[in-house]
């Protein structure tokens, strides 16, 4: 299962953090450590790395890193594509998503994530269905 999803920019600032298990150590320090490890890696290196007693799967989009902590039973490639699907869904909703979209619309970013992953498990991967509730909400707000 997934332990957490982090969105981090190249400066190491956390833009979104969702935990599915309470972090064992202090959140801020563990995030810094994870981010440092991922930022230090080259593009030629593989997208998985062992970290403490779990694994990190990460993918970089321009200046944003998506980092997912998973346990050892999780399928790494499936997680790698989950990240891509999240990005595509964001892209679909925000129309050419960038870091600022996420910052200014944190609530929406979380909501989309919530529709896709819950309790550390994948719930829905169909982009139209993922975006359905949020569109309902947007309409209600107008």
């Amino acid at each position: 299962m997934l332990k957490f999803i982090l969105l981090v920019n190249k400066q190491g600032q956390t833009r979104l953090a969702q935990y599915y298990e309470h972090p064992e150590h202090e959140r801020v320090s563990i995030e810094r450590d994870i981010i440092r490890k991922c930022l230090a890696r080259e593009d030629s290196q593989c997208s998985f790395l062992e970290y403490k007693n779990f694994k990190l799967v990460y993918r970089r989009y321009a200046s944003l890193y998506f980092i997912v902590g998973v346990d050892h039973t999780e399928n790494e490639l499936a997680i790698l594509e989950l990240i891509h699907n999240i990005v595509e869904t964001y892209d679909k909703y925000f129309d050419k998503v960038c870091e600022l979209d996420i910052m200014f619309n944190l609530d929406k970013a979380y909501m989309i994530l919530e529709e896709m992953v819950m309790n550390g498990r994948i719930v829905e991967m169909n982009q139209n269905r993922i975006l359905l509730p949020i569109r309902v909400m947007d309409q209600a707000a107008q």
């Binding site: 956390t14 399928n75 619309n105 994948i122």
Partner: protein, 984 residues
């Protein structure tokens, strides 16, 4: 151009974020944040009630600040208030804040639960989903208790919307994880399985996760899901990518769901039904086939999604481990990936292949890729991939390729990343030990390991090579030669000095004939390293020097000079100082004979699991899996352990031990290492009884009391036990006291009956049992006295004696039945028991007493004080006879040695009394050290008479004993040692 927030734009938020982004320094950012926090706080505290919009804006700001790494200690109440808003957006923000910022211990949890309840019972599916998501995220125990019963209804009800079902599945999963007992069992568990057939693939995706977790807990309840999962999987993999339009991802139909289904199937063994099994195998073959088809897209997303399914299918094939063709196909597929340009695929292929290597069907197929893996080890740019390559080489290693793999790993070690060196060293050491080409190769490998990566060689590794060299006399000369050569290197790792010092000290004589490695050269070579070494290594070298004095009397003078050197004699390190002083003294005072006995060659170490393997398992728990699976292989290659154990000629003549004086033993290392070498199991002289010079003075005073009261009436015993709670408190173990029935385990027999014949065997508020015994030769007679301490009668009083198991054939027991079956209040009845010793035995016969006291049945089980040493007769002999006999009893098993911490304070007179009471004849003046005891006796059994020799060496400083027993019968040796151990 800053992006404008979508929907209902929150300008204040945008401004704040822009401000933060424009901050030039950390301080400025902190300042801006503090300002904002103060602002929000005042807004929340203010009199004016905030509208939903403002609350939402502030909560978003707090979230943003939280993500920047600041703790948020307010705003929770406002978020909870938002939960009861009717506006979807506000409610959503409330839930978001709570999901991200509220931990399960929050005092607000009750309010949150109430709000969730309200939303769950609305008819608005969007609200229900928000509530369910919140439960899935927080999932506290309290929530589980309050809400768990509601969720299953939502999952199986026909009226529930699909989106709600999805959320409900994962919500229930969370509650199940938090507190499974709150989740009601019932009919829904049957129906949840059928969700695998649901039209809506999102529902299937969620349900599969739920079922997976539930099935792990109780597989039987969800067995029907295997069939459902297989048919669902089959429909997905055989569908064309246009069939499942919405769930097709880059031309791959439902990849995440396929992965989940394949993982669910890994909970179960392969299906037994041939049709089902055939269908599953078809699926797996289809997945493997697809990997060979030309890609439908050049995008990496396509190949990743396809391969995600492929790797999970391979995991399932490995899990089943029954289909040789599939296993080999999987292996070939992974082999292709090993050379793929995608680093990710190479990494995963190495990882999966490691699992395949442990299957007997694919082990050979994996081995074919050895060269590729070795190339990967050498050329991969990513250390995590190289790490996987090391794992795989380790996994595929067997007798046939060990030499090459070990050589490659050794050569890689020279340049390996620091992060993986220690683990690699362990792996090389294990492989070299497990699949030795021959022992000289093994020794070479380990010495190379120390040469190349000395810093990463943990103590376990070099202990192990010494154990093995000591146990194999055919390799000792070679080991001495190569270690001597290795020491000649200008810079030489300290671990090499340790191994060198130890091996030359034991076997230096084997190469002393060669002028190039004459005793003097050996000594000078070792001593040239002495000053560069740490104290423990110097201690070891001092031990080597005293061994040299024994091996090479011709250089005694030079060695004594070193010991006599003020640097050693007055060393600040107490250990070194003591060794120097005592070794010097030993070399001056003791005759050559005595010296030869003290410094006799080490006896072989007992065989056991390699301590290195244990270390690796500790480091990497998943390695043990590999080892376990390996047991399945039909041709399990013999390990070094086994072969050493199976070749008797490998055992050098066991040393006749004697005289240790108070000098520290020629210990290889300091006390810290004791356990690792397994010294506690007793490989003779390796244990420096005196090693721990700084041992605390004496154990707690309570122990002393117990010794003093050995011969006092038991009533006082009770008192002393009470006074000294830390003392052994089972003098009067009252197992049967109040238990009305059934306590079958007999009360452990107290050790003091080993050395005396009369006393109180048992006592509780009701009953006292006394015993008087006499023994002659192989016969004994016990009188048991049952005293009723109460004023009411014991009815149906029936004592019976039984000899469980082997004891029945070793001991003949005859019990005279009691004349009466009632013991009146205050009365005592007597029972006579005759015993005859047929053969040696360990366990005592069991006396079990049943009686009824004021209407309730009582049962007491006791061990009768009949031990092997009761049939022991002392023997007197002179020193020469003793040593002759001692030397005769030198075959394996005839000697038992125990080194143990004194339970009672060491006292010369008490020890004497105990040994005499035990039945030994004490032989004074045989051991040159007056503190030591030497004794002899004969066990008189009907079938045989067994002579026993004993040596007991107390060590006052360390409060320890070393007990050595030699007898002509292996089992007697062990049994007597066990009995004696409890007395001191």
């Amino acid at each position: 151009m800053p992006t404008v927030a979508k929907g209902d734009a929150m300008r204040g938020l945008a401004v704040f974020i822009s401000d933060i982004r424009n901050c030039k320094s950390k301080e400025a950012e902190q300042k801006r944040i503090n300002k904002e926090l103060a602002n929000i706080r005042s807004k929340f505290k203010g009199d004016k009630t905030l509208d939903g919009y403002s609350k939402k804006k502030y909560v978003c700001k707090l979230l943003f600040i939280f993500l920047l790494g600041h703790d948020i200690d307010f705003g929770h109440m406002e978020a909870v208030n938002l939960l009861s808003s009717n506006k979807y957006t506000e409610k959503q923000i409330g839930y978001l804040f709570i999901s991200v910022l509220v931990n399960t211990e929050s005092e607000l949890i009750r309010l949150i639960i109430q709000a969730i309840k309200n939303d769950l019972f609305t008819r608005n599916p969007v609200h229900i989903c928000l509530a369910l998501q919140c439960i899935a995220n927080i999932g506290s125990k309290e929530m589980a208790e309050a809400l768990a019963p509601e969720i299953p209804k939502l999952i199986v009800s026909g009226e529930t919307l699909d989106a709600v079902k999805q959320s409900a599945c994962l919500c229930l999963l969370r509650l199940f994880r938090t507190s499974p007992e709150t989740v009601p069992s019932g009919e829904w568990t049957q129906r949840v399985g059928h969700l695998l057939n649901d039209q809506h693939l999102g529902v299937v995706t969620s349900a599969t996760s739920l079922i997976h977790t539930l099935a792990q807990k109780t597989p039987e309840d969800f067995r029907q899901c295997v069939q459902l999962a297989i048919s669902r999987l089959s429909r997905i993999v055989t569908s064309s990518y246009t069939d499942l339009q919405d769930y097709t991802y880059y031309f791959v139909p439902a990849p995440w769901l396929s992965v989940k289904l394949l993982r669910l199937l890994q909970v179960y063994p392969p299906p037994e039904d041939p049709a089902m099994r055939g269908r599953l195998n078809e699926c797996l073959e289809t997945i493997l086939n697809k990997a060979q088809e030309p890609p439908k897209s050049k995008k990496v997303q396509h190949s990743n999604a396809k391969n995600a399914v492929l790797f999970e299918a391979i995991n399932l094939i490995i899990h089943h481990d029954t289909e040789p063709t599939l296993l080999v196909r999987a292996c070939n597929q992974l082999g292709q990936f090993l050379q793929h340009r995608e680093t990710n695929l190479r990494y995963l292929a190495l990882e999966s292949m490691c699992l395949l290597a442990s299957s007997e069907f694919s082990h050979e197929a994996v081995k074919k890729h050895m060269d590729t893996v070795i190339t990967a080890l050498k050329t991969e740019r990513d250390v995590s991939v190289r790490q996987r390559a090391v794992d795989l080489l380790y996994g595929m290693c067997d007798k046939s390729n060990a030499e090459e793999i070990v050589a490659e790993m050794l050569s890689y070690l020279e340049t390996a990343d620091y992060s993986i060196r220690e683990e690699m060293v362990l792996k090389v050491a294990i492989l070299a030990e497990k699949y030795p080409v021959d022992y000289t190769w093994y020794v070479d490998t380990i010495l190379n390991l120390i040469r190349i990566a000395g810093d990463y060689v943990s103590d376990e590794v070099w202990y192990r090579v010494i154990q093995i060299v000591i146990n194999r006399d055919d390799v000792q000369g070679y080991a001495a030669k190569v270690v001597f050569e290795a020491l000649q290197a200008p810079a030489c790792h300290e671990n090499m000095v340790k191994v060198g010092g130890y091996i030359l000290g034991e076997f230096g004589n084997l190469i002393a004939g060669d002028q190039r490695s004459s005793p003097m050269v050996q000594f000078q070579l070792l001593h040239s390293k002495y000053h560069l070494c740490s104290a423990p290594t110097r201690g070891l070298l001092l031990s080597t020097y005293i061994k040299f004095i024994n091996l090479f009397p011709e250089i005694k003078g030079q060695l004594q000079d070193v010991l006599r050197n003020n640097n050693n004699l007055q060393n600040a390190d107490a250990e070194l100082q003591q060794r120097a002083i005592e070794y010097l003294q030993l070399s001056t005072v003791a005759s050559q004979d005595v010296l030869a006995t003290v410094l006799e060659e080490m006896p072989p170490f007992p065989e056991r699991e390699s301590s290195i393997l244990a270390k690796l398992k500790k480091k990497k728990p998943n390695v043990s899996d590999i080892e376990v699976k390996e047991g399945k292989k039909s041709s399990n290659p013999p390990t070094l352990n086994n072969s050493a154990a199976n070749t008797p000629e490998a055992t050098p003549a066991s040393a006749p031990v004697p005289v240790m004086a108070a000098a520290p033993a020629p210990a290889p290392v300091q006390s810290a290492s004791d356990d690792l070498l397994g010294l506690s199991a007793g490989p003779a002289a390796a244990v420096p009884v005196t090693n721990n010079f700084a041992a605390p003075a004496a154990p707690a005073g309570g122990g002393g009391l117990l010794v003093d009261v050995f011969d006092t009436p038991p009533a006082q015993n009770n008192v002393s036990t009470a006074l000294a709670p830390q003392a052994e408190d089972n003098f009067f173990n009252m197992a049967g006291e109040t238990a009305p029935s059934g306590d079958a385990s007999a009360t452990e027999l107290d050790g003091r009956f080993a050395i005396k014949n009369n006393g109180v065997l048992f006592e509780n508020e009701l009953l006292q049992i006394g015993v008087k015994a006499e023994y002659k030769g192989n016969l004994g007679r016990l009188g048991l006295f049952y005293g009723n301490k109460t004023s009411y009668p014991f009815q149906f009083f029936t004592p019976t004696v039984s000899c469980p198991g082997e004891l029945a054939s070793a001991l003949n027991v005859q019990t005279k039945p009691l004349d009466v079956n009632t013991v009146e209040g205050g009365a005592q009845v007597q029972q006579i028991i005759n015993v005859e010793c047929i053969a040696d035995f360990l366990d005592a016969p069991i006396l079990s007493i049943k009686f009824s006291y004021s209407g309730s049945m009582q049962q007491i089980n006791l061990m009768l004080p009949v031990m092997l040493n009761k049939f022991f007769e002392p023997v007197e002999m002179d020193a020469t006879t003793f040593f002759n006999r001692w030397k005769q009893l030198n075959s394996p098993g005839q000697e038992e040695q125990k080194i143990f911490k004194a339970t009672y304070p060491i006292n010369q007179d008490n020890s004497r009394t105990k040994l005499l009471g035990f039945g030994f004849g004490l032989l004074d003046g045989v051991d040159p050290n007056p503190d030591n005891f030497v004794g002899a006796g004969i066990i008189k059994a009907q079938s045989s008479q067994v002579g026993c020799l004993l040596r007991l060496e107390p060590n006052m400083q360390a409060q320890m004993y070393r007990l050595t027993l030699r007898t002509s019968s292996n089992s007697v040796t062990t049994r007597l040692a066990d009995l004696l151990l409890k007395l001191f």
